[in-house]
């Protein structure tokens, strides 16, 4: 089962705006890509055309791991607005 199929089992109510933002000037200098390796939902990837780091906020499990793993401080992370984001039915 792919990670996308796993996330498809979860209930999400997605807001229009992302609750995660990246500082591309920091990402540009980063070699380790801590975010890609630590995100349990596999939401981070490098855009091959632009070379920019991108994050799919819509499948976010709201753990905050990326914010902590990125020791360079590129990840600005807030909780989604009240009533938005993942809605765990089991937890």
């Amino acid at each position: 089962m792919t990670i996308e199929e796993k996330l498809a089992q979860d209930a999400f109510k997605n807001d229009e705006a992302s609750h995660i933002s990246l500082d591309q000037s920091i990402c540009k200098e980063c070699r380790e890509r801590f975010c890609i390796y630590s995100c349990p939902a596999h939401l981070y990837s490098l855009n091959e055309e632009t070379g920019q780091m991108q994050v799919e906020f819509a499948g976010c499990l709201e753990c905050g791991t990326c914010m902590i793993a990125c020791i360079y401080g590129s990840v600005t992370w807030n909780y989604p607005r009240g009533g938005f984001g993942v809605q765990y039915r089991h937890g």
Binding site: Q9, I36, Y37, P40, A41, T65, G83, Y88
Partner: protein
Amino acid sequence: MEKIDVVIVGGGLAGLSCAYALAGEDLTVLVLERGDFSGSKNVTGGRIYLGPIRDLIDDLWEGAPFERHVAKEALTLMAEGSSTTLQLSSQKMNQRPYPSYTILRSRFDRWLADKVMGKGVYVVPEKRVDDLILDDGRVVGVKTGEEEIGAEVVVAADGVLSFLAEKAGLRKPFEPQHFAVGFKEVIQLPREKIEDRFGLTGEEGMAHLFVGSLTKGMMGGGFLYTNLESISLGMVIGIDAINRREPREEVYRILDEFKESPQVKRLIEGGTLSEYSAHLIPEGGINVMPKLYSDGILLVGDAAGFGLNMLITVRGMEYAVASGVMAAEAIKEARKKGDFSSRTLAHYEDLLRNSFLLKELETFRHALSILKNPRWFHHYPQAICDLYEKLMWIDESPKSRLFSTAYGELRKSIINLQGIKDILSLRRI
């Protein structure tokens, strides 16, 4: 600004326990929850130990929607090509009052919020708190969207990432070595199948931990808990360990490999995935504990960093409940004195220091620094499996004495200078 007495930010175990303990007093209390309902943002592995908290809220637990009481424990050491499992079936654990239960938080927290509402405290869903309102350095309320809510005291029960603790200047910046990420699947299986497969009767449950090759040398392990009609299967891995691993490993993939391992595959066979979740675990312990209170604010539960990786289990929910109740005690005291400044709220820390909570965190002060040793997660599980395999192996050549086989293996991989150092380091856990 008009003020109510207490605003509790976060309707999880810590916040709701605080609210429950405050209900019925002559206090106006409001709980603000950012999810659609309490529990909708909460994740556990999950197992809760009732021993330390049963008497703190003695009228609560009857009828609580736990999953199964844990009557069986298992620990599997995973190695390349082999594994060793130690299993405990305990009559003591299988007697009322049961010491621990498996639990799913969405259902549990929702139930607890209903209990709190039943006692007259309003839990408002879909309310994210954006900021604290400060007056001359003192917390006097919270901002949620356009709305401002004044309060004599704010209880920050906003979880492991606690932005409120940060805004109040109570905690230091986060570091990867003080956190682990837990991620798990809830896999549906018919009740009879679970009971049959794990040898359980009625509402007996099992807790099964896995340490060794599954985490590829990273600090952490795997867990399997039986729920009533599902299995919680997941892993906990230190974020610093993920950051430092070479070659790099995308962490989400190793759960799939764990699921595919022969030790796990047969246990979840025929099950269907119904949810994938993730949550951070505070593991820094007492060494990185934030300041727990200030004028007009208290930190409880994960927001206060009350979590502990004690090798054989990861704790947190009991701390959430206990700290919530103790915060409530301190608030009642402050109300009596009419003083919500840090001078009075300091009573909260006194209560914690005299309880199991800070005593345990103190006892396990060095646990994390010992657990950082990668040999626990790779070398020793492999060595123990190799030893066991060698003892049981019989082939065409005449078998050596069991003692010399065991001694030879132990000398090679455990009883040497490094091994003795490692074993001695365990004295501090």
